[in-house]
Symmetry: C2
Subunit: 138 residues, 2 copies
């Protein structure tokens, strides 16, 4: 059986978030957001992308929809990108604004992003470790 790559990435992400203790829904229609996840403390509004390459593009319109939806809903907006063969990277949507190329926003693998563990607070972000030097807290 053949699946579209995008749908498969979405299912994988949902599974990972559920393993991390979140309740997750996939949005039907997917006009404003792909995935909503919550764990009672943190609410995530996620647009999901996947690529075999090193960058993805997001239309200005989709980014604006994600931002306005998440503001109204009360959640943190992320673009989650599956770079095939590597781990998931999460890009806070507010920070993507301004990196526009024509009518699209570009996200590169090397852009500052977060791991899924950093997003859900299971792991400090690299920036915290460098600036505070207390990576062994347990």
């Amino acid at each position: 059986m053949r699946y579209r790559r995008g749908a498969s990435a979405e299912r994988e992400l949902i599974h990972r978030l559920e393993e991390l203790g979140f309740a997750v829904v996939r949005s039907a229609g997917s006009k404003k957001v792909d995935v909503i996840a919550g764990n009672g403390k943190l609410y995530l509004c996620i647009e999901v992308k996947s690529t075999k390459g090193k960058r993805v593009y997001l239309s200005d319109e989709d980014l604006e929809k994600l931002l306005s939806f998440s503001r109204k809903f009360g959640g943190k907006p992320y673009v989650a990108v599956k770079f095939i063969g590597r781990e998931w990277r999460f890009f806070p949507a507010e920070k993507i604004v301004g990196r526009k190329t024509g009518k699209n926003c570009r996200i590169d693998y090397s852009d500052p992003g977060m791991s899924i563990e950093e997003v859900v607070g299971k792991q400090k972000s690299l920036i915290d470790l460098i600036t505070r030097g207390d990576g062994d807290e347990s």
Copy 2:
């Protein structure tokens, strides 16, 4: 064009919630919850039912899925029922437990429920008005 009654009720509910300032998603698959809505303060996890009659039935399994999903997600669980030709009624899911008939839970039109305005806090519930007598607060 013909629509299924359930899908049509769901669309109507989504539209009403959006009018009331919520960001709303319809769940794809609908295994645990039909609709998720948030307004930055209040998160609603909703199972949607509609009937031409005076009662609806919900399987124990569906109710338990709604309750466990909403606890994990961090939202208030409701069964929203469109009694065709009347207004929407919202039944807090925790209060439905115990009213079991065999393997189903029954919800009657006359059961204590809430209007959509009461759920979103735009209107005091009847119980508040009777016990506190301050219905004219503005």
